[in-house]
Amino acid sequence: MGALAIKNVTKRFGDTHILKGIDIHVDSGEFLILVGPSGCGKSTLMNIIAGLESPSGGEVHIADRIVNDVAPKDRDIAMVFQSYALYPTMNVRQNIAFGLETRGVPKKEQDEVIARVAKMLQMDHLLDRKPGQLSGGQRQRVAMGRALARNPKLFLFDEPLSNLDAKLRVEMRTEIKQLHHRLKTTIVYVTHDQIEAMTLGDKIAVMKDGVIQQFGSPQQIYDTPANLFVAGFIGSPSMNFIPAHLASEGGVIGVSLQSGDAACFAPLLDSQRYAAYVGKRVIVGVRPEQWDLAADGGGLACKINLTEPTGPDTIVFTQINGIEVQARLHPRDARSPGSVLHLRPDMSKAVLFDPETEIRIG
């Protein structure tokens, strides 16, 4: 069953078009991630789903019902805001109770709900404090608690972790994931952190300039990015974009790579699908972890310019076809700057882009 469907939604503020025809479909119980750079319209879209702003065009369906004209409170959703938006003059208990109270939930039931939520999020000891007396992490917890107090059909999380420090963010990320497993409620979750996007989402919608660039599972988006923007946005360190000529050598289509004086020809898999591009310039996308050490001495002899040990891996920097390329190697295989390594790209995973349209080929 469709939990949320957004059909050709647009939003204008005066003459500026913020959302330009958004289409999204989320099934019940799915965890949807909206990811994109700052200012691309993520919060605007969330507000439209919540009914806090009305779209300039298009339809919003929640649980297979058009809700364009339904008031926010009647949409059966709960939202966690980026700034938490806790009511500063009320203590935690009152913050959670406020929404129940306005909906006319009897006092006894309110107390039960508060007890349940407090237990779930382990915040019994915070109930009598005001938001001003809480740490950032605790406020975040309370904001979630307030959303959990109702059993909504849909949770909206607008960058709920962006104000937390790195360690807490990782902890809360896991907690949110566990919560989702337990509750199985549909969640729409905004972030501009691509690791959050990959780890939490069942589906990811990558947005830029008010347009969905790609909508799919995390693995789809990672393996077959629709365009250069998506390819560069998801993954850290970023995918390497190597400009190259597509050539055909003895019936095999591939690209030639050059590093310093060394050169090699890297044949592509299933290469006939690129036939139309033979002789043209393309951009070859190879992720840092898709480089292997060519133990046989083949591959491309690359001079190491810089290394960045991260612990489990070491990132080595080199120059290929005139641009800087990063390769993620086992620390055992890395060499110090100045030395030469024989690297071989895993062309079965490489993706090709048209340099003009920036769209993936094949």
Binding site: P72, K73, M79, S83, A85, T89, M90, G99, R146
Partner: protein, 282 residues
């Protein structure tokens, strides 16, 4: 800050404080003297024997024109005027500020600009049209009319205070409350108003001072039964008797000023705090 500078600073502050306190001292000491002592002594001397006769006279028996029953009637008139006027103008200001900052509508910026403009209209310009309006409403020369005038003239200022304060309240708070099912009034009463204590104090004090001290509207729009204390004080000081009773005049002036002084002493810290909270910028 280094020591000598601190000394200079305190000296400057002390001089400024003395400069402002001196008139108060002169008024207070004069009001406690007898007329003989005033004629004999000098302005700055302390009263020889403290006498409250002048205060009694100013409150109950001094002549304000043909009538000789002191300022008490005027004082209670002012109380009856200032309480509703302050409360209504503050309440409307809070509501206006809430709408103009959190429930913007097409043209709300224009409405705000016009309100700001209202702040700069000299009140003298309003006298004739206002008199006409009061006549139409049947409120001419009545207490209700005077309250109405003060409310209307106070709204621009109170709206500005509250609007600037509410702009600082994050919109997400309102959105959260809307999702919680609260509407316009519930959000205002349960969420916004409880956050407004600093600006509420500033506005209440500000309006109280303005309205209590007003002379112009009191003089023009009230008569006999409904005149406020500022008009009473003026009448008292201008009633020609054979001798000028400085002690009575001073006592009367102090009676007129006492409520505002009391308000500042009791609630002054909220005023300073409210101002410091950046409440009244712009």
């Amino acid at each position: 800050m280094s020591k000598p500078w601190r000394g200079v600073l305190y000296a400057v502050l002390l001089i400024a404080a003395l400069y402002y306190l001196l008139p108060l001292y002169v008024m207070l000491s004069t009001s406690l003297k007898t007329m003989d002592e005033i004629r004999a002594g000098n302005l700055l001397s302390l009263p020889g024997a403290i006498s409250f006769d002048a205060w009694h006279k100013a409150w109950g028996t001094a002549c304000t024109g043909i009538e000789c029953s002191g300022l008490s009637g005027y004082f209670w008139n002012s109380v009856r005027m200032v309480i509703p006027a302050v409360l209504i103008s503050t309440a409307l200001g809070a509501l206006n500020g809430y709408v103009l900052s959190k429930w913007r509508f097409r043209g709300s910026e224009l409405a705000f600009a016009m309100l700001l403009f209202g702040l700069y209209i000299p009140f003298q310009v309003l006298l004739l049209p206002m008199a006409q309006t009061l006549g139409w409403f049947g409120l001419a020369r009545s207490m209700a009319g005077l309250v109405f005038v003060h409310v209307v003239c106070g709204i621009a200022g109170t709206t500005l205070f509250f609007r600037n304060f509410y702009v600082g309240i994050p919109d997400e708070l309102i959105k959260a409350a809307r999702l919680d099912g609260a509407g316009f009034w519930r959000i205002f009463l349960r969420i916004v108003l409880p956050m407004s204590l600093p600006i509420l104090m500033v506005t209440l004090i500000w309006q109280f001072t303005q309205i209590w001290n007003d002379f112009l509207f009191g003089l023009v729009f009230s008569s006999g039964e409904s005149q406020p204390i500022t008009v009473g004080l003026n009448n008292l000081a201008n009633t020609s008797t054979s001798v000028k009773e400085y002690n009575v005049n001073m006592a009367a002036a102090l009676i007129a000023a006492l409520p505002t002084i009391a308000v500042y002493v009791l609630a002054g810290k909220y005023f300073v705090r409210g101002l410091a909270a950046g409440a009244v910028k712009g």
